[in-house]
Symmetry: D3
Subunit: 253 residues, 6 copies
């Protein structure tokens, strides 16, 4: 099976790192293609970044449909434009926050999300609600580490994150941690070893969840809200984004 892993920001070294993490957990028969748009925000740290990044991300999903992918992972912890992506895709589309929260809810009575900037905590709470996970999400904690500082050599990012995870276990009544940024994928086992409790990371969780759904032959339901966008002609410089008929795709394959 072929899974397209879309990093909605433009920072290629993050995309490559995510691709490596994904391939480490993927099953033998799974091909992971990790991409990011060439346009848009280099990091997503608020609602505006997210709204603008959605354009490139959705273009990658639409391209993916022409390329015949079986499923998609949206690799930013805000799960930007997830429902729009589901309208485009035939196969499953998984957000990394969604998969990570599902996974954490199964292995612990409650988890804390440890994320980057304080201004993104509200987004994480919204997602917890959207996925029905508020009853498991005991807290969302910011570290005030900027996304692009996460992998700067010699940065204090890892130790700051580990300290916050420890505080989460001590203070929140949580028994597991969800890492709240795709850029933390490479830290996962290091953090787990340091704190002695399960640490769930969304990129890898979403890849396995997508694999599971594809193996189960489950597709995005095309009956209701996630039906293909109605075919219409968009105006001006966005004309290339006009949704075409699902039939057009099938014909093209």
């Amino acid at each position: 099976m072929r899974i397209k892993l879309i990093n909605p920001n433009t920072t290629q070294r993050m995309t490559e790192s995510m691709g490596r993490c994904a391939r480490e957990v993927a099953s033998p028969g799974t091909e992971i293609v990790a991409v990011s748009p060439t346009m848009g925000p280099p990091s997503i740290e608020g609602y505006y970044d997210e709204a603008i990044a959605s354009l490139g991300m959705l273009a990658e999903v639409e391209a993916g449909e022409r390329e015949g992918f079986d499923g998609y992972v949206i690799a930013c912890f805000g799960d930007p434009a997830l429902y729009a992506a589901r309208e485009l895709a035939r196969g499953p589309v998984i957000g990394i926050a969604e998969a990570a929260m599902h996974a954490a809810s199964v292995i612990a009575p409650g988890f804390s999300v440890v994320t980057t900037l304080a201004r993104t905590c509200g987004m994480a709470w919204h997602l917890a609600e959207r996925y029905g996970m508020t009853r498991f999400c005991m807290n969302v904690r910011a570290t005030d580490v900027a996304v692009l500082d996460l992998d700067v050599p010699g940065s204090a990012a890892r130790s700051i994150i580990i300290d916050e995870c420890r505080r989460a276990l001590d203070e929140d009544g949580s028994d597991a941690i969800v890492l709240g940024c795709a850029g933390m994928a490479e830290f996962c086992h290091e953090v787990e070893d340091a704190i002695g409790a399960p640490v769930v990371e969304g990129v890898t969780a979403a890849v396995k969840w997508a694999e599971a759904l594809i193996a189960l032959k489950l597709h995005t339901s095309k009956r209701g809200d996630f039906a293909r966008p109605l075919a219409k002609r968009y105006d001006g410089v966005l004309a290339d984004y006009s949704p075409r008929d699902a039939a057009a795709h099938i014909h093209r394959k």
Copy 2:
């Protein structure tokens, strides 16, 4: 005071109609500027349309900040990218679904939303939840009238909508109606007269709500989630959308 009314779709005759409705209810000292982007979907009938339309809508908010507007109305019932717009704006930003639901919740114990296509009902439910209005929203009902058919001369749209409103009052335990599409603004009093119960329409409600907040000197809080987007350089063809410092704006004025 000056309020920018942004129709996120590109259909200029809808924008003009909304402008007319807005001006009818605006206070004497209020200037309404009704605009729509020149790029993007001509109508918004799903999550993908909404995600793509956000680009042009947000550009209008950012331009509005340079133009010195006191507040904004997002005139599409999905309230697209409302939080992203709040990050950009100093003054208040109101969604028409938000204002309509607030208003209806004050004049009746419960309301029904009557909207266009069935695939948008889920969006209305999400908004009701986001605004805390699920306890007032008794039902969301689709009429299967397409947005752009609403004002086609001789169309059956109005009588279909009136019939659905009547059913809502009879079957949902609702005592008021919220019209679920900006394109229905011109019908509001006609529907109210026909059904004999209050009918709330979002474009006009949001204009009055924005006026109220501006008169109260209430701005969007810039402390937390709605702080200005972090200044950063976006890549590629989206570089023009890069968020600049709030300071840059103030300087420019």
Copy 3:
């Protein structure tokens, strides 16, 4: 338009102060008549005070219907007998807690209520729930300032309130403040200047909200729970409170 602002307690100097605040924000064409009953509690600081004060407040609404008011503001943060008042009135009836919470929910992701006595915090939480605002209400904080001490010259009330507002912003994850007592109306801008975040005050918010609904020609729905009380004869000394037919009113005008 004419709006009757009813202070449900008997303290006339509070009524006058509210009237002044209301007129400062009212639109040119709006007449504000601020009244309080001549009987009942001089301040409302619990459920019993509230229940007894409702009698005089409702008498003012019923009188207001005969006097031809277009709408009403109930100016006590417990929004006492709001639904009973809606049964009596044809126009909109707004509670100050209701309007303040709506307004705060639009300009910030979350707010804290800062109120007077600890024993009224539960009332504020009940109202937040009734209006669907629990998702925005991050905390309700008491200052242990008695209502009638708020405007005593030289009292520490203002600095105590400002300190509590600062703590709310620091500790609650709130980005705006709602002042939880009508007696705080005159402090609003002073507190806002001191804390550097939006401060919403209910008397002024409710006046603007009432103006908005009246301008939109929205009335209290008379179909269901808020229909006129059934005409019946009350016994004993309360006979004067007997509800009469709505028709009787219209005739009388």
Copy 4:
């Protein structure tokens, strides 16, 4: 022990009937004193009726404190001014809706409330929420029987109520019925025999619940929201309702 059963409406024959029902289920050592105010609405069929009736009901609680009652039952299904009554009383104060919903929640996975007029259904839903019973309350159904027609000889009230209870069991997924008006107390066993499922009636349930709390020596907590009203002097014709110190009561006994 002595329990004061307060019918908040002025219809003495209802008070007497409730007293009879209460005495039938009371334990040997329990004295039931059933009273109703001499002023106010003869029946409670909306929020306004309820607000006005609270005055006389609260006077009976305050008198009861002087008379040394051990606990109180508020015998109207809207549980009017229950929290205000708790401020006044040292012993427990139980609403009949509260007791009936608690009891029904223990003997069935879900219940339906069958009540009188449609306009009171919203009140019953509010109470279900206030008591945490929405998860058990499957529906609230009106019969459009007026309260004072319930015991008119030869009326169709009983058969209408029995029919509605049957529909509730068939259509709501309910396995028990809560009768939603104190005036239905005398029908309870007749309805149960007719429909073959448990029928809970609030007057009797509240009496037994009050007995239980009194036997357990549980009093209304006087620490927080239900502390005695602050002593203050009320103005005008309501001066007699001024709350006095709890100490004053104890002294007087």
Copy 5:
């Protein structure tokens, strides 16, 4: 009337102590039979203990049906297998957590549960949710006292519990305490005297609640989820637990 009080653990001295507490509050005509299984865990301190203890507890209910009991109390704060017990019983079956939470919700705006081991706090929260009591349950606090240490002479258990109750009142915004273990029944009045706020204990509360329901002639509804288990033959060593027809029971009596 005859009430069977079932301690689901095997520690006979706890059973006897509960029996004593129950008899102290029972009405004159009530016979309390306190039993515990001869097999299973000596204390219940987790989900596994609870699942295994359910076997003996359910056997006692089934035996109770043959013995003609009018109702049952499940005397472990986890209310283990409560719904299974309701399937077996004709009369009411009350859990001690259920009765204690109901009682506390009537005498205070909010309560804290003070229990034994931290690992059981999650169970208490689940029960609060199941009974609709989360809106009243302000906190669940562990003392890390093991169940079987509660009544060891000279142990510090009581003073630890009293200290935790005091902290609950100070820090949780609670105005009453629910003791979270059947083994604390004998402390109830001692704790109440020490902290000066109502303390609810489940064994006694459940006995009074059961008495109340029996006096009201209310049975477990046999229409839906709590109908007798379908008659079938269980395999192997559990064959003796095979559910028989309700009819079989009635015949046997």
Copy 6:
């Protein structure tokens, strides 16, 4: 990796059928061992059946720990004693309702559960709540097919189920189906083909979900509620079920 699939009922032909379905979707390196207890109910159709079946199911988990399994699937749609099983296991333990609801929530905005007997619908709703899935679960529908009739040759079970699934899509606003009984595993694709919308079946979903968690090296958190049961000696015929130290297990391996 090795996954133990535990059918909590004793019907061996169901166990074999589940094993076949599981192996069809399992990854190449996964060994599925499908077992059922030799004691207990042949089918689980209520709370009592479930409570008794838990004994044999938990014995299989405890044995599985000695046998070195990496994870477990509890293959009954009531997910009986899931939390107790998590206390015993080091690896992940997945319930089939849990996995199915998670999967359905990712591919459709809402799903309906189609199950066997009406008396089990309440159980499905409880599980939806426990897993945070009520917002996705639009309805739970019974077919009144008994569990053991599902695979009787020539039975009408399949067509009854397909008809109910069609009604669910038409009437519930659902866009996917969850099959609510492990005994329906073999029907999954047949139903999907018949109704033209995604059909999720829990046995296969849980196997893939367990595989995913094991591949991610995620274990059940042993910090809090799911820590090993406290070591203690159970009494009487249940002594063999006494929980031993986790250390004992590790030693034994």
